[in-house]
Symmetry: C2
Subunit: 151 residues, 2 copies
Protein backbone atom coordinates (compact mmCIF):
# COMPACT_ATOMS: atom_id res chain seq x y z
CA UNK A 1 0.00 0.00 0.00
CA UNK A 2 1.71 3.12 -1.20
CA UNK A 3 0.41 6.53 -0.39
CA UNK A 4 -1.03 7.99 -3.54
CA UNK A 5 -2.05 11.32 -2.09
CA UNK A 6 -1.12 14.11 -4.40
CA UNK A 7 -0.04 17.66 -4.23
CA UNK A 8 -3.09 19.32 -5.79
CA UNK A 9 -0.90 21.75 -7.67
CA UNK A 10 0.28 18.86 -9.86
CA UNK A 11 -3.24 18.20 -11.10
CA UNK A 12 -4.44 19.47 -14.47
CA UNK A 13 -6.61 22.52 -14.00
CA UNK A 14 -7.56 24.04 -10.70
CA UNK A 15 -5.87 22.57 -7.63
CA UNK A 16 -8.80 21.05 -5.76
CA UNK A 17 -9.48 18.08 -3.54
CA UNK A 18 -12.44 17.12 -5.68
CA UNK A 19 -10.14 16.64 -8.65
CA UNK A 20 -7.65 14.77 -6.46
CA UNK A 21 -10.43 12.50 -5.20
CA UNK A 22 -11.62 11.80 -8.73
CA UNK A 23 -8.09 10.78 -9.73
CA UNK A 24 -8.42 7.94 -7.25
CA UNK A 25 -12.08 6.95 -7.47
CA UNK A 26 -13.38 8.79 -10.54
CA UNK A 27 -13.00 5.79 -12.75
CA UNK A 28 -16.04 4.10 -14.21
CA UNK A 29 -15.82 1.00 -12.03
CA UNK A 30 -14.07 2.09 -8.83
CA UNK A 31 -17.10 3.19 -6.83
CA UNK A 32 -19.13 0.23 -7.99
CA UNK A 33 -16.40 -2.07 -6.72
CA UNK A 34 -16.44 -0.25 -3.40
CA UNK A 35 -20.22 -0.61 -3.30
CA UNK A 36 -20.00 -4.35 -3.80
CA UNK A 37 -17.30 -4.81 -1.20
CA UNK A 38 -19.41 -2.76 1.20
CA UNK A 39 -22.19 -5.28 0.63
CA UNK A 40 -19.85 -8.00 1.81
CA UNK A 41 -19.14 -9.29 -1.67
CA UNK A 42 -15.43 -9.69 -1.29
CA UNK A 43 -14.61 -12.28 -3.94
CA UNK A 44 -13.24 -11.27 -7.31
CA UNK A 45 -15.85 -13.16 -9.30
CA UNK A 46 -18.71 -11.66 -7.32
CA UNK A 47 -17.46 -8.16 -7.92
CA UNK A 48 -17.03 -8.86 -11.62
CA UNK A 49 -20.54 -10.20 -11.93
CA UNK A 50 -22.28 -7.57 -9.83
CA UNK A 51 -20.55 -4.55 -11.30
CA UNK A 52 -20.57 -5.77 -14.90
CA UNK A 53 -16.97 -4.67 -15.37
CA UNK A 54 -14.61 -6.54 -17.68
CA UNK A 55 -12.38 -8.85 -15.69
CA UNK A 56 -9.14 -7.19 -16.67
CA UNK A 57 -10.44 -3.71 -15.89
CA UNK A 58 -11.66 -4.83 -12.51
CA UNK A 59 -8.37 -6.53 -11.71
CA UNK A 60 -6.53 -3.33 -12.60
CA UNK A 61 -8.92 -1.17 -10.61
CA UNK A 62 -8.73 -3.36 -7.52
CA UNK A 63 -4.96 -3.18 -7.73
CA UNK A 64 -5.11 0.62 -7.96
CA UNK A 65 -7.58 0.82 -5.08
CA UNK A 66 -5.34 -1.42 -3.02
CA UNK A 67 -2.29 0.71 -3.76
CA UNK A 68 -4.28 3.79 -2.85
CA UNK A 69 -5.19 2.28 0.50
CA UNK A 70 -8.91 2.19 -0.18
CA UNK A 71 -9.14 -1.58 -0.34
CA UNK A 72 -7.05 -4.28 1.23
CA UNK A 73 -6.79 -7.88 0.27
CA UNK A 74 -6.38 -10.41 2.99
CA UNK A 75 -8.70 -13.29 2.28
CA UNK A 76 -10.93 -11.56 -0.24
CA UNK A 77 -11.21 -7.82 -0.64
CA UNK A 78 -12.08 -5.56 2.30
CA UNK A 79 -12.53 -1.84 2.69
CA UNK A 80 -10.02 0.12 4.71
CA UNK A 81 -11.00 3.16 6.73
CA UNK A 82 -10.47 5.28 3.63
CA UNK A 83 -12.80 2.96 1.77
CA UNK A 84 -15.51 3.09 4.41
CA UNK A 85 -15.11 6.85 4.40
CA UNK A 86 -16.44 6.80 0.83
CA UNK A 87 -19.90 5.84 2.03
CA UNK A 88 -21.13 9.44 2.11
CA UNK A 89 -20.05 9.80 -1.51
CA UNK A 90 -21.94 6.67 -2.50
CA UNK A 91 -24.99 7.65 -0.45
CA UNK A 92 -25.18 11.06 -2.07
CA UNK A 93 -24.79 9.50 -5.50
CA UNK A 94 -27.53 7.05 -4.61
CA UNK A 95 -29.88 9.81 -3.52
CA UNK A 96 -29.11 11.86 -6.63
CA UNK A 97 -29.51 8.84 -8.87
CA UNK A 98 -32.83 7.88 -7.29
CA UNK A 99 -34.15 11.30 -8.14
CA UNK A 100 -32.50 12.12 -11.46
CA UNK A 101 -31.00 9.05 -13.08
CA UNK A 102 -33.60 6.29 -13.00
CA UNK A 103 -37.10 5.90 -14.35
CA UNK A 104 -38.14 3.17 -11.98
CA UNK A 105 -38.78 3.64 -8.30
CA UNK A 106 -35.73 3.01 -6.15
CA UNK A 107 -34.54 -0.54 -6.31
CA UNK A 108 -32.84 -0.52 -2.96
CA UNK A 109 -33.80 0.78 0.43
CA UNK A 110 -31.54 1.17 3.41
CA UNK A 111 -32.85 1.09 6.95
CA UNK A 112 -31.33 2.99 9.82
CA UNK A 113 -32.39 1.42 13.11
CA UNK A 114 -36.11 1.01 12.43
CA UNK A 115 -36.78 3.69 9.83
CA UNK A 116 -35.84 4.21 6.20
CA UNK A 117 -32.49 5.78 5.63
CA UNK A 118 -32.25 8.76 3.33
CA UNK A 119 -29.04 10.73 3.42
CA UNK A 120 -29.00 14.47 4.01
CA UNK A 121 -25.92 16.61 3.81
CA UNK A 122 -25.70 19.19 6.55
CA UNK A 123 -23.21 21.66 7.93
CA UNK A 124 -21.21 19.72 10.52
CA UNK A 125 -20.94 22.80 12.70
CA UNK A 126 -24.51 23.99 12.97
CA UNK A 127 -26.48 21.07 11.56
CA UNK A 128 -28.39 23.07 8.98
CA UNK A 129 -28.84 22.03 5.41
CA UNK A 130 -26.95 24.64 3.44
CA UNK A 131 -28.38 26.33 0.43
CA UNK A 132 -25.88 27.55 -2.14
CA UNK A 133 -26.76 31.10 -1.19
CA UNK A 134 -25.61 30.53 2.39
CA UNK A 135 -22.16 29.49 1.28
CA UNK A 136 -19.18 31.63 0.44
CA UNK A 137 -16.14 30.02 -1.03
CA UNK A 138 -12.54 31.04 -0.58
CA UNK A 139 -9.59 29.84 -2.58
CA UNK A 140 -6.40 29.61 -0.57
CA UNK A 141 -4.09 28.59 -3.38
CA UNK A 142 -1.70 31.31 -4.53
CA UNK A 143 -2.19 32.04 -8.19
CA UNK A 144 -5.81 30.96 -8.29
CA UNK A 145 -9.07 32.75 -7.69
CA UNK A 146 -12.60 31.44 -8.00
CA UNK A 147 -12.67 32.49 -11.63
CA UNK A 148 -9.36 30.91 -12.60
CA UNK A 149 -5.60 31.42 -12.53
CA UNK A 150 -4.71 34.98 -11.64
CA UNK A 151 -1.47 35.00 -13.60
Amino acid sequence: MTDLRRDPSTLPGRPCSVAAALELVGDRWALLAVREISFGNNRFNQIVRNTGAPRDRLAARLKDLTEAGIVQKDDGYRLTEAGRDLFPVIWSLLAWGDRWAVTEPPVRVDHHHDHEFHPATVCATCGERPTPADLTRTMLTPGWTMTGPST
Copy 2:
Protein backbone atom coordinates in the same frame (compact mmCIF):
# COMPACT_ATOMS: atom_id res chain seq x y z
CA MET B 1 -33.14 18.49 -23.19
CA THR B 2 -34.06 14.88 -23.44
CA ASP B 3 -34.73 12.78 -20.43
CA LEU B 4 -31.85 10.37 -20.08
CA ARG B 5 -33.12 8.61 -17.00
CA ARG B 6 -32.70 4.90 -17.33
CA ASP B 7 -34.39 1.76 -16.32
CA PRO B 8 -31.77 0.39 -13.93
CA SER B 9 -32.35 -3.13 -15.19
CA THR B 10 -30.72 -2.12 -18.48
CA LEU B 11 -27.45 -1.30 -16.76
CA PRO B 12 -24.55 -3.71 -16.76
CA GLY B 13 -24.30 -5.47 -13.43
CA ARG B 14 -26.55 -4.85 -10.47
CA PRO B 15 -29.51 -2.52 -11.09
CA CYS B 16 -28.68 0.41 -8.84
CA SER B 17 -29.15 4.14 -8.79
CA VAL B 18 -25.48 4.62 -8.04
CA ALA B 19 -24.59 2.97 -11.32
CA ALA B 20 -27.27 4.98 -13.10
CA ALA B 21 -25.90 8.18 -11.61
CA LEU B 22 -22.38 7.30 -12.67
CA GLU B 23 -23.56 6.76 -16.23
CA LEU B 24 -24.48 10.44 -16.28
CA VAL B 25 -21.78 12.08 -14.16
CA GLY B 26 -19.16 9.35 -13.68
CA ASP B 27 -17.01 10.66 -16.47
CA ARG B 28 -13.60 12.08 -15.72
CA TRP B 29 -14.58 15.71 -16.43
CA ALA B 30 -18.30 15.94 -15.73
CA LEU B 31 -18.19 16.78 -12.03
CA LEU B 32 -15.32 19.19 -12.54
CA ALA B 33 -17.37 21.03 -15.13
CA VAL B 34 -20.28 21.18 -12.69
CA ARG B 35 -17.90 22.47 -10.02
CA GLU B 36 -16.71 25.29 -12.29
CA ILE B 37 -20.21 26.27 -13.33
CA SER B 38 -21.20 26.30 -9.66
CA PHE B 39 -18.41 28.83 -9.13
CA GLY B 40 -20.04 31.08 -11.69
CA ASN B 41 -17.58 30.22 -14.43
CA ASN B 42 -20.07 29.81 -17.20
CA ARG B 43 -17.97 30.43 -20.30
CA PHE B 44 -16.57 27.56 -22.33
CA ASN B 45 -12.99 28.81 -22.24
CA GLN B 46 -13.06 29.28 -18.49
CA ILE B 47 -14.29 25.76 -17.92
CA VAL B 48 -11.64 24.38 -20.26
CA ARG B 49 -8.87 26.24 -18.47
CA ASN B 50 -10.03 25.56 -14.93
CA THR B 51 -10.77 21.87 -15.37
CA GLY B 52 -7.79 21.10 -17.58
CA ALA B 53 -9.96 19.03 -19.91
CA PRO B 54 -9.25 18.84 -23.64
CA ARG B 55 -11.56 21.16 -25.55
CA ASP B 56 -13.24 18.43 -27.54
CA ARG B 57 -13.87 16.30 -24.48
CA LEU B 58 -15.33 19.21 -22.61
CA ALA B 59 -17.55 20.17 -25.53
CA ALA B 60 -18.85 16.61 -25.70
CA ARG B 61 -19.39 16.43 -21.96
CA LEU B 62 -21.24 19.73 -21.79
CA LYS B 63 -23.46 18.52 -24.58
CA ASP B 64 -24.18 15.31 -22.69
CA LEU B 65 -24.81 17.20 -19.46
CA THR B 66 -27.17 19.51 -21.29
CA GLU B 67 -29.05 16.62 -22.84
CA ALA B 68 -29.26 15.01 -19.42
CA GLY B 69 -30.81 18.17 -17.99
CA ILE B 70 -27.97 18.85 -15.58
CA VAL B 71 -26.75 21.96 -17.37
CA GLN B 72 -28.53 24.45 -19.55
CA LYS B 73 -27.08 26.89 -21.97
CA ASP B 74 -28.70 30.25 -22.31
CA ASP B 75 -26.00 32.88 -22.33
CA GLY B 76 -23.20 30.73 -20.96
CA TYR B 77 -23.66 27.51 -19.07
CA ARG B 78 -25.86 27.33 -15.97
CA LEU B 79 -26.83 24.55 -13.61
CA THR B 80 -30.37 23.28 -13.58
CA GLU B 81 -32.02 22.02 -10.44
CA ALA B 82 -30.59 18.57 -11.18
CA GLY B 83 -27.17 20.18 -11.45
CA ARG B 84 -27.47 22.04 -8.18
CA ASP B 85 -28.67 18.83 -6.62
CA LEU B 86 -25.20 17.43 -7.28
CA PHE B 87 -23.68 19.70 -4.64
CA PRO B 88 -23.88 17.06 -1.89
CA VAL B 89 -21.97 14.69 -4.16
CA ILE B 90 -19.27 17.27 -4.75
CA TRP B 91 -19.13 18.24 -1.08
CA SER B 92 -18.67 14.67 0.02
CA LEU B 93 -15.99 14.15 -2.60
CA LEU B 94 -14.31 17.33 -1.39
CA ALA B 95 -14.35 16.17 2.21
CA TRP B 96 -13.04 12.74 1.25
CA GLY B 97 -10.38 14.24 -0.96
CA ASP B 98 -9.24 16.66 1.73
CA ARG B 99 -8.67 13.74 4.02
CA TRP B 100 -7.44 10.99 1.71
CA ALA B 101 -6.39 12.34 -1.66
CA VAL B 102 -4.14 15.34 -1.08
CA THR B 103 -0.87 15.89 0.72
CA GLU B 104 -1.27 19.59 1.21
CA PRO B 105 -3.71 21.22 3.58
CA PRO B 106 -7.05 22.00 1.99
CA VAL B 107 -6.79 24.56 -0.74
CA ARG B 108 -10.34 25.78 -0.48
CA VAL B 109 -12.59 26.61 2.43
CA ASP B 110 -16.31 27.19 2.31
CA HIS B 111 -18.08 29.34 4.85
CA HIS B 112 -21.64 28.79 5.96
CA HIS B 113 -23.02 31.98 7.47
CA ASP B 114 -20.10 32.93 9.72
CA HIS B 115 -18.42 29.58 10.35
CA GLU B 116 -16.46 27.13 8.26
CA PHE B 117 -18.51 24.67 6.31
CA HIS B 118 -17.72 20.99 6.55
CA PRO B 119 -20.29 18.60 5.20
CA ALA B 120 -21.69 15.78 7.29
CA THR B 121 -24.01 13.13 5.99
CA VAL B 122 -26.83 12.28 8.34
CA CYS B 123 -30.03 10.28 8.33
CA ALA B 124 -32.70 12.67 7.07
CA THR B 125 -35.27 11.12 9.37
CA CYS B 126 -33.53 11.16 12.73
CA GLY B 127 -30.55 13.41 12.12
CA GLU B 128 -27.96 10.96 13.35
CA ARG B 129 -24.75 10.17 11.56
CA PRO B 130 -25.13 6.54 10.57
CA THR B 131 -22.41 4.01 11.12
CA PRO B 132 -22.39 1.10 8.69
CA ALA B 133 -23.42 -1.16 11.56
CA ASP B 134 -26.66 0.81 12.03
CA LEU B 135 -27.71 0.23 8.45
CA THR B 136 -29.49 -2.70 6.92
CA ARG B 137 -29.91 -2.85 3.19
CA THR B 138 -32.74 -4.39 1.24
CA MET B 139 -32.79 -5.13 -2.45
CA LEU B 140 -36.19 -4.73 -4.02
CA THR B 141 -35.28 -5.86 -7.52
CA PRO B 142 -36.63 -9.28 -8.44
CA GLY B 143 -33.80 -11.57 -9.37
CA TRP B 144 -31.20 -9.82 -7.26
CA THR B 145 -30.06 -10.19 -3.68
CA MET B 146 -27.32 -8.37 -1.86
CA THR B 147 -24.85 -11.03 -2.93
CA GLY B 148 -25.78 -11.04 -6.60
CA PRO B 149 -28.30 -12.36 -9.10
CA SER B 150 -30.42 -15.10 -7.62
CA THR B 151 -30.97 -16.91 -10.92
